[in-house]
Structures are given as C-alpha cells and as structure tokens.
Symmetry: C2
Subunit: 420 residues, 2 copies
C-alpha cells in the first residue's frame, strides 16, 4: 500500500463527464489498496472567467479581493469531485486551503506556502477516505484567502505530498509525460521514462511548459518523487501499468537514469535581446547598464559581454518580452549617454534554444557538438550561456524549429539510451 497524491489539471476537470473520469481513476487506485489525496484545479476556463469579471470592474483590481474571487474555482471543483467519488462508492471529503490549513505568506495572487498542517488529512486517510484538497490556495497569518499564482495547483500537490510524506506525487495532465522536446516542433520527440530533478528544473526554467517551475523547486526542496502522466488514457487502465507510465522525476541519479548525456531540448520565444555597441570597457559599466533594469524589478536572463577591442566592447542581455518595451525605454533614457555607448540594437525576433542533461557534467565536447550542428545548418549563434547541465544559445527566431530538430537528431534523442 502506497500513499499517493494525485493532481488533476483544469482540462482533466473541464466538464462533469471528465470529473466522472477522474473519480473512476481515483476509485481504481483506492480499490487497489492505496491511500489517495487528490488536488484538483478549477474547471478549465473558470479562473479566467472569474478574473475577467474582476477586470471588467477595474483595470487594477485589489489583489486580496482577486484571491477571494479566484479561489472559488477550485473550491467548487473539489466539491464536485467529492460528489463524483461518492457515486463511485468511494468515501471522500473535500477541504479548502484554509480548512487544511495550507498556510502561506500574504503575497496575494502569488503567495508562497509556509507550512501545511497535515493532521486533518492524515486522520481522514486513516479512516479510509479519499481526501480532496483544493489546489492553488491557502490562508495567510491574518486569515485571508491567498492564491499561489498560475499553475499553483502543481505546487499545492507537491507541498501536500511533502507534508504527508507521500510515496509519489502524480501530476495528471493532458500530455503523457516529459518529452525530449516539444512533439509539435519535432515529431520524433520521445517521451522520457525518467528525468533527474535538476534536468527537469532546467527544462522548466528554459521554456518547457509541462510543469510549473515552482512546483519543481518545491519537489526538489522536499525530495518529493514526481510523476507526470496522462489523464486522457482510459480510467480503467490497470494501476500497475499506470504507476509505471508517464515520466518520473527522480532524485536518485543511479542505474534508473538513462545513459544519455543530453536528455532534452528546451526552447522559448518569450525573450527579447538588447545589445549596446561600443561600450567603453571600464570597470562598473555592467552595473550602470543593468542597475537601472534591476531597479525597475525586471529580471534579466542571459548576459554576454565580449572581449574588448580598442577599449570598447559590445554588451548584450535578454529580458522577458512583457518587459521589453519598458527596458528599451530605460536604456534609451538613462543608459546610452551615461555609459557613452555608440548604439543600441533591440531585437525581439530571437529565440533561445537549450540542451539539457546531467551527462554534460562528465562529458566534454557536448557544447561543441551543439555549435557544430547549428553551423552545419547555417544558423548564426548570437549569444551563448552555459551552466553545469545546460547550454543555451540565442538565435534568430525563424531558425528555432530547424535548430530544435537538428539538435534532436545530432544528440540521437530519437533512440532510447541504453539503460532503463
């Protein structure tokens, strides 16, 4: 008998028919002798509908009240799932974030979980019930309802799993696992049976949308084994088969792992690039350039400064597209003349492509195979950034799909690696 947390996304909860399917799936796990906690999202579209009403009333609605409103979506879907489970003959009870309670800080609309009181969940599990805990929400020290931000239900599920020391946290979603890259770009993309926590963290931060990055961080902090698997398979699929399906995100870097040096290719079009040409190569110039951006609370992703020639250098960095226009304005107004740069080039038609793999730690030459592959396709590399287990490049937007496919082939990701 295992203790399992199962999270179901908004698509999986999108209609009463789908909620019935979730109930069938949960009932199957219960019948197989497992203890189950379920964390459902709101029915798909519901959170947007609620926030849309708030935005009809105000362009900058109060964030405490937004959480009051948005949290109702998960509360309703949790109650509905309890009723669907009763129909399957399963004892079940739903709990809101404040009823558990899931305690958070007071950062409305993007709160962080501080602690979970698991006594009530444990007692209900021990009495034979399936426990349903609303995703996405908690309660702050003053008794206000808080929400965890978009994708927060993943984080709720992982946090509950950590609190009750679950054997595994299953994230049921509309894809059947983590792929070597997005199958919509590379049809030969292959589902990974296992991926290390560190690789998953890089993939999530580099553009993979399968898991919300904060939930992966939380899983890392509390060593919660995560599995991403499909909620679109028939609910009657045998438990033994389902518990080995999808992708396991593991902390054990051992024989279980595939033997590949590169596990996946992530990509994003979410960033824009700003380059300052002819910046005098003097101490403190990077601070002058990026200090203004930091003051505006804007995150900078990649930063590249070249070797100086004739006492000047070119300085490039990328920011999220949502902040791009703002950053352009800041640089034009405050930075160009201050540092004496010759010119600014702002380019939104860029993409970032990254290879990720813990094998890169022990294998030399991985990055150069990446550069060689792109060169063969005549793709110019604009920026390079590396860390221990990933290499990212910025290239022209239009080459992104080509780059992903070429790298997927070059690193032989179509073929399962020897182990596992």
């Amino acid at each position: 008998m295992a203790l399992i947390v199962q999270k179901y996304g908004g698509t999986s909860m999108g209609s009463t028919e789908r909620i019935k399917n979730v109930a069938k799936r949960v009932a199957k796990w219960k019948a197989a002798g497992h203890q189950v906690v379920v964390v459902p999202s709101a029915m798909s579209g519901e959170t947007n509908r609620l926030l849309g009403l708030a935005r009809e009333l105000s362009s900058s609605p109060d964030s405490r009240e937004l959480d009051m409103i948005a949290s109702t979506g998960e509360q309703a879907s949790s109650g509905l799932l309890a009723i669907a489970l009763h129909q399957e003959g399963v004892q079940a009870r739903s709990y809101t974030g404040w009823q558990v309670p899931i305690k958070t800080d007071s950062a409305f609309t993007k709160a962080r979980i501080t602690s979970i009181d698991h006594e009530r969940i444990r007692a209900e599990l021990d009495s034979g019930k399936v426990v349903i805990v609303t995703g996405f929400q908690g309660i702050d020290p003053d008794g206000n309802i808080t929400t965890l931000g978009r994708g927060g239900s993943d984080t709720s599920a992982v946090a509950v799993a950590a609190a009750i020391k679950a054997d595994e946290c299953l994230i049921f979603t509309d894809v059947d696992g983590v792929y070597t890259t997005d199958p919509r770009v590379e049809p030969n993309a292959r589902r990974l049976n296992v991926i290390s926590f560190e690789e998953m963290l890089e993939m999530a931060s580099l553009g993979s949308k399968v898991l919300q990055i904060r939930s992966v961080e939380f899983a890392g902090k509390y060593q919660v084994p995560l599995r991403v698997l499909s909620s679109l398979t028939p609910p009657e699929l045998p438990v033994e088969q389902e518990m080995r399906s999808g992708t396991l995100i593991t902390f054990e870097e051992d024989a279980q792992m595939e033997d590949a040096v590169v596990s996946g290719i992530a990509f994003t079009r979410d960033e824009g690039k700003i380059t300052l040409l002819g910046v005098p190569d003097t101490p403190g110039v990077a601070y002058v350039i990026l200090g203004k951006v930091a003051e505006a609370n804007i995150d900078v992703d990649m930063i590249v400064q070249n070797q100086s020639v004739d006492g000047t250098t070119d300085f490039s960095f990328t920011v999220h597209r949502n902040d791009f226009e703002k950053v352009k304005g800041l640089i034009e107004k405050h930075v160009i003349s201050a540092v004496g740069a010759r010119q600014m080039i702002a380019d939104e038609d860029v993409a970032k492509v990254s290879i990720v793999g813990i094998g890169m730690r022990s294998h030399a030459g991985i990055a150069s195979l990446m550069f060689q592959t792109l060169a063969q396709e005549n793709i110019n590399i604009q920026m390079i950034s590396t860390s221990e287990i990933k290499t990212s490049v910025v290239i022209a937007d239009k080459y992104m799909e080509l780059a992903v496919r070429a790298l997927h082939k070059a690193f032989d990701l179509e073929t399962p690696a020897s182990a596992s």
Copy 2:
C-alpha cells in the same frame, strides 16, 4: 450617522454593470456619513449553475459537498463588489461566512445561524471601511462550510444587523416594497409604507414571496427594523429620499402604523386538499389520520373537522403540492380502512386566499365581511382557518384572482389608510 446593513439580491448583482450600480449606491450612503455593511447574494443564475453541475454527477449529492460548491457564488460576488467599491474610491473589504465568523449548526443546505462574532466587522467599520459579508453561508462547529438554504442571504443580512445592533437592515430587491397584494393579480395593489412585523410574518408564510420567512422570524427575534426597497431606482437617488422609500417592517405598533384593519391579501396555489368523508367521530381519529403523515416528515397546513352528523364526520387537510402524491398514497394504503372512512377526495385544483391585519384583533366582523364578499361573487368556501391576525379560506383554484380582487376592493386597500 447610522449603522446600516444593506442586502442585495441576485438580480441586483446579476452583471458587472449592476454590481457597479450597487457600488455607487453603497458609496452614496458612505458619503452621507453612514457606516455600511453589505450582504450580497450570488450573481443571479450562479447558484443554480453550480447545483446543476452537482446534479449532473449525482441524483442525491452529499449535502456537505453541495454547501462547499454553492457557497462559492456569494464569495465571488462579494470580492467583485469590493473591487467595484474601490473603483468608487471607497475603502472596502469582503469577508466569507467563516472569516467573520458566522457560526451555524451542521444542518448542511439548511443550516441555522447560532451566533455571529462581530468583532472583526466592528473593527473594520471603525477604521472607515465598508464591510462586505457573504450572504447565505456560515461555518459549523467542525469547521465545515454550511449554507442557509434558498433565500438565506436575507437571513444573513438580518442576523448581521442583529449582531452589530444596526439601526436598520435594508433589503434591496427587484420590487419596491411590500404591497397590499401581488400587483400582477390586482393592478390596484398599493405599496405599504409600514407593515407590522407580525403581519409581515403572516404574509410571508401565507404566500407572499417578498421576504424569506426565516429572515422575518429572525428580525422578530432580535427586533431588527427591516426595510424592503428597490435596487432598480437610479443609484444617485438622494439618501434622505431612499431611507424613506420602500416598506418598513416595524415592531412599534403605534402612530406610525396605518389605521387599516386589513393590511394585505396573500394567496398561494402551492397546496392540495385531501378530504376523508364519513369518518366515525371517535376519539383519536385525527391522530390516526395525521400520524402517518407526520411520520413521513410532511407538514400539514390547514386542518378542518366538521361537527359530526349521525356519528360520522368529514375530515379535511391541506399539504404542499410537492408532497401531495405521497400523502395520497399514504392515506389510501394505511388510513382509509384503519379509520373506516367512506371515501377519500383528493383535490389539487384549490387555492388558499388570506386576509392579514393586526387590526383584526380589535375589530369584529372582519371575517364575515370576507365571507360575504366571496358569497357575492358566488365563490364557494371549502375550508376556513383563522388566527389572531389572519383569516384564510380554501377555494377552487379558478376563482383565486377574482377572490383577491374582490377582497382588495371590499377592504378598501386601494386607498391609503388615514394615518402615515
């Protein structure tokens, strides 16, 4: 400066446009120097939508989970109203039933309020805020969310008004007050400026739909002055004018009251009549007949037993139409032979028409004017029931509108009475 509770029904909260109007109205009261607590219903249609989803999953959904689901409607509308008030430049904060807290028993879907902790509301009012409290819901001793049943937001508003000792509780609705009778039946029906609490209680229990009966009972228990008024007037209507509009339900039976002996005419088609003919007139026969009905938890309304003739009597009673078929079956199966009745007559084509007025206490001949009026119209009276301040008759369904109009005229309800 007065302390005012304002309740807005689902129609008044039915869209973001209407919520903006509610906010304008509340802002106006605040600007006039009053302290205001607002109790909103869910947006119209929302509670039905949520319960409809539950019924798609189960024909007999668990009542605890129904409350979990249904309570979200008021939570969302309360948050939305807070945001709309902020847009009006008014400081406002919404509270759920459990946040106040409004404590109830554990009778899910029809819970009763046991106490309200008003400390939080008071503190927010004293800091200059408008306080929004979700209608319809509370929290039971085990920390579960409960709801008060249909129309429960009226009860929430009255209970909050009682707890904070409000000067008046304003029930904003889609009619502009309590009428002498339903204007759809009698176009000459007249709005009452004042009605006594006891009369309002009789009107509500006899078929008037303006106020939910439990909210009137609650107002009576805690002596909360209630006013029913329109939410469809322009929100800019001056406060001085609005605070005298609608109908005041008062506990002061003094000069304020109109001098009429009859204040209103209530009617309903919600009941069916069952008559047992030729019942032997022996002790205990009423118990045999109605005992079976009581065992099935069905409320009996009117009961009439005539003087016996030749040792037998006719026994009639009325029950709600929802229970009618069930009661017919019970009587046929268990009662007719047990009491030796000659025959059962079950008649659903009946209506109950009632005249209500505290003046009936001190004026003789009111009931006979009612009987005379109906006789002049050739309307046969099938059953009569009286109490201190009302007389009800059961007549054939088809005469109901005619009876209401004839009585309205006979008791001169078209003309305002002398006082007030």
